[in-house]
């Protein structure tokens, strides 16, 4: 459970920094970039919520948690990838950018997860 707590704390920290950056950008009239930070914050929120969901599902068993949680890295971005393809097809650069941000944020969270849980083979 210690490793899961470590992961959770790391995500909370990233969310705090993202939120702070979002507010600073908004105050500096950089509205689009502030909106992008908000999108990142939402993605982090989703994965934070999934921690508690998975802890319940795995009955606080770390091995079970490690088995179940990574499935969200496949399942959640599925729609984003579909939207990304659709946006690319329609030359909709704004939505391409937004969907890419979501996917990149998920990839970053995945790396934090792997590092925190000691799953990184490198």
């Amino acid at each position: 459970m210690e490793k899961i707590e470590k992961y959770k704390k790391a995500l909370v920290k990233i969310r705090e920094n993202t939120s702070l950056k979002k507010e600073e950008l908004y105050a500096d009239s950089k509205y689009d970039e502030s909106k992008f930070e908000k999108i990142k914050e939402n993605v982090i929120d989703i994965y934070l919520r999934m921690i508690n969901v998975t802890i319940k599902q795995s009955n606080q068993n770390v091995d079970k948690f490690i088995e179940l949680y990574p499935k969200f890295f496949e399942k959640i971005p599925k729609n984003w990838k579909t939207s990304l393809d659709e946006a690319k097809k329609n030359n909709d650069f704004e939505n391409v950018f937004i969907e890419e941000i979501k996917i990149e944020t998920m990839e970053k969270i995945k790396r934090v997860f792997e590092n925190s849980l000691g799953l990184n083979n490198e």
């Binding site: 500096d28 009239s29 950089k30 509205y31 689009d32 970039e33 992008f36 650069f93 704004e94 950018f97 890419e100």
Partner: protein, 187 residues
């Protein structure tokens, strides 16, 4: 320039203003802007695409890079000229509306008589307004006088008379009818 609102929306972001400030001095490519403004290249690309879409910048492919230039013709315009573009838009909208009105009148009128009362409310109002043109604005009409005028257009004077009131084109007081101005009749 196709959309003045898009231009103003585009300009209301400090990062894009910063990019424009650089491009006003000299044409640049994404990586150079990215370095100058300490912004991710992908973010710079995003802003440039938005500026390009609004017609504020244009791009040209160089040998290795895509160079971005400010669209001087837009920046040399006066603010009033930008706003007048909007007026042109509203004029063309007015023109489209007039054309639609005429199309409805042509479809439902024949020899100054109504062939059929439209079922669709939007079209029916156009027809009602056309009949209402035969009434004077400040004059008061008895019900019989109203019926006689409507009869010139259609036999179902009761229905049209009722619609006049329902659509607030006329007011009725003690059996006396009076036409409302277009502004009065707005809900």
């Amino acid at each position: 320039m196709s959309n003045t609102i898009e231009v103003f929306k585009c300009l209301s972001d400090k990062s894009r203003l910063n990019i424009l400030n650089l491009l006003i001095k000299k044409p640049m490519y994404v990586e150079l802007i990215s370095k100058s403004l300490k912004l991710a290249a992908s973010t710079v690309s995003f802003h440039l695409k938005k500026l390009e879409k609004a017609g504020l910048v244009r791009s040209e492919k160089d040998q290795y890079y895509t160079m971005y230039y400010v669209n001087e013709s837009v920046f040399n315009q006066k603010l009033i000229e930008l706003i007048l573009v909007e007026n042109k838009d509203s004029k063309s909208q007015e023109k489209r509306q007039d054309e639609y009105h005429q199309k409805v009148l042509d479809a439902f009128f024949e020899n100054n008589k109504i062939k059929q009362i439209p079922v669709q409310r939007k079209k029916r109002i156009i027809i009602l307004k056309e009949i209402a043109k035969s009434f004077e604005l400040s004059k008061k009409y008895t019900e019989n006088e109203v019926n006689e005028i409507i009869l010139k257009f259609h036999d179902d004077y009761c229905f049209i008379r009722r619609e006049f009131i329902m659509e607030k084109l006329f007011v009725r007081d003690n059996g006396i009818y009076q036409k409302l101005t277009f502004e009065d009749s707005k809900e």
